[in-house]
């Protein structure tokens, strides 16, 4: 597989950025962008701050 991809990259013509927005490749670009964006938009920046919420609740030394 790796060898085939390397050969393919040598033999094929240079890819162009405009091709990303044509036909089936447009859908592929949109899917990849959407999946990337979902990582941000699912609120992980907040959800990863669980420690901060615990800290707020237990700041009076109830915990540990």
């Amino acid at each position: 597989m790796m060898r085939r991809v390397v050969e393919l990259e040598k033999s094929d013509k240079e890819p162009n950025h405009l091709e990303l927005f044509k036909g089936t490749d447009l859908y592929r670009t949109l899917i990849v962008c959407g999946v990337y964006l979902a990582q941000n938009l699912t609120g992980n920046l907040i959800a990863n701050q669980a420690v901060y919420f615990f800290e707020r609740e237990f700041s009076s030394s109830l915990f540990l």
């Binding site: 592929r28 990849v32 669980a50 420690v51």
Partner: protein, 144 residues
Amino acid sequence: MSTNSAFALGLITSALQMIFVMLSWILTTYLGRRTIYLWGSGFNTILLVALGVAASIPVTKGTPAATAASLAQASLGLIISVLFTLGPAPASWVIIGETSAIRLRPLTTGIGRASYYIVEIPCIFLGSYMLNPTVGLFSLRVLR
């Protein structure tokens, strides 16, 4: 909670995330990435709505109800971030790597990553507003 135990809890969260990523390797032998991604995201959506509800119920500060609501937010946040690493997070990297055409793969991934950073900037901005107790914008909702 002392600084040390807060740090320990942060480490525990990271360790749990690592374990759940390893569990996701087992999960992928039984389920396809479409199933994992869609059901994982759906389940996480439900939990995020529950977190939002827990943060929106009006309670008076210092009462047991306020403590319960705060603890619910904290636990749900931890569960969401850990479950995200079990299902949607590894599946999303697979989808990103496998969707694009082989010839265009570097370009598609590059464009995707660029859009990720463009959206991440406002997300960080909003996140710091949400978590900052001295800024009034969200402080009553997310925190109390």
